[in-house]
Amino acid sequence: MKPAPFAYVRATSVADTLAVLDSDPQVKLLAGGQSLLAVMNLRLARPSRILDIGQLRELDRVFDDDDSILIGALRTHRRVETDPLIRARVPLLAEAARHIGHVAIRNRGTLGGSLAHADPAGELPAAMVALGATLYVESHTRARREIAAEDFFTSLFTTALEPSDMLTWIRVPASHPTTGWGFTEVARRHGDFALAGAAAQITLAADGVVTRARAVLFGVADRPVLVTAVEQTVGNRPDPSTWRQVAREAAAALEPADEPEYQRHLAVTSLTRAFTQAADRSRAAHHRGTQS
């Protein structure tokens, strides 16, 4: 199908975009369009006015800012996936981006677009919550706000963004060299939307005791779910059964809308895998450290 008619304007700057959003809250921002144009083609969305921000080069940049990486909202998934800096400093994010759709989708889809769209099965919203990222939101009239990723996603396809707001930058804490990461998802075919998935970061001390643990489930609720149960592992030395037990506890707290038994089963499986990958990577980082 074809989209319903709309008026199209190309934005020239962030300031220009914010001014247009302020004067016309009905206007819809178009970045890469890989979600928006699909739902417009299916006529699930019929915006009457489109403001194309896809050419705003000022938001297509990445900065190495000491302990964090600052990424512009218009960076494409493909650039995030292949960026040597992101792969080295925030490998979980690069891996999450790799799981999105297919190359041609990742060449166009943007980080900011994906976060603002807030698909509950989306990889990037989950990765941002797992990484403890901060989202920068700007508007014409209000001062710039910093919103923690875990507060940004409020419901199904719904975020803390007001109609006149624009997501501009995303600050992602760089992962410590001994922090291990895990990212898994279950999908019927490669590139399909995830039925369930999990992202985890675990830091073990040299003696194997957990010093930091954070994890997220996605595709199983109306937004990414922070797995608070994993915090009980901090200070303990986990064995393989620990991770499955935490995953079972996290899955039991879910209330999936359909096929709850199956969804909980997938949640346990993906979370256990993500934990195991993350712990193994942390151990391997210590091993490399002692060898050199």
Binding site: M1, K2, P3, A4, P5, F6, A7, Y8, R10, L30, G33, Q34, L37, A38, N41, L42, I50, D52, G54, Q55, R78, G101, H102, V103, A104, I105, N107, R108, R189, H190, G191
Partner: protein, 164 residues
């Protein structure tokens, strides 16, 4: 109000046209400049038949507005060969029976062209992953993958790698 003026280069030719804002890049290519090699299957980004290269990168032309593509350089399946001659990949697709009905073929050839232009060495897994966004209901993919791998292998002497 909904008309947008675009300036776009397609297969080496520059076009200045006025389009309705809602015109997809695919419909622009097919209906306004007559390049019907780009096929439209699902029109929501799932089948990959409409894949074209925009500034050298593969995109779904059904999930791209013609208006968004203003100022870019586009290559379609018609622009891959050399005049009337087929590209090495197109010839290999023919040799390996990488197509039957041919509807999905332009998308596969364009996506595989991007892959071949951006990677030094390729194995079966790389090719299958890169083409996972393209759906073919006839061939079972084997001939398509074989064709891409053959082109990757045969060009290796040029990149300094030993041929098998």
């Amino acid at each position: 109000m909904n008309d947008v003026r675009i300036d776009i280069e397609v297969n080496g030719i520059r076009y200045e046209r006025t389009v309705d804002a809602r015109t997809s890049l695919a419909d622009f290519l097919r209906e306004q400049i007559g390049l019907t090699g780009t096929h439209l299957g699902c029109e929501h980004g799932v089948c990959g038949a409409c894949t074209v290269l925009v500034d050298g990168r593969s995109v779904r032309s059904c999930l791209s507005l013609a208006a968004q593509a203003g100022g870019t350089t586009v290559r379609t399946v018609e622009g891959l060969g050399d005049g009337d001659g087929l590209s090495p990949l197109q010839q290999a697709m023919s040799r390996h029976h990488g197509l039957q009905c041919g509807f999905c073929t332009p998308g596969f050839v364009v996506a595989a062209t991007e892959l071949l232009e951006n990677s030094a060495e390729l194995d079966d897994h790389d090719v299958r992953e890169a083409l996972s966004g393209n759906v073919c209901r006839c061939t079972g993919y084997h001939g398509i993958v074989a064709a891409v791998l053959e082109v990757a292998r045969e060009r290796q002497p040029a990149t300094g790698k030993a041929a098998e």
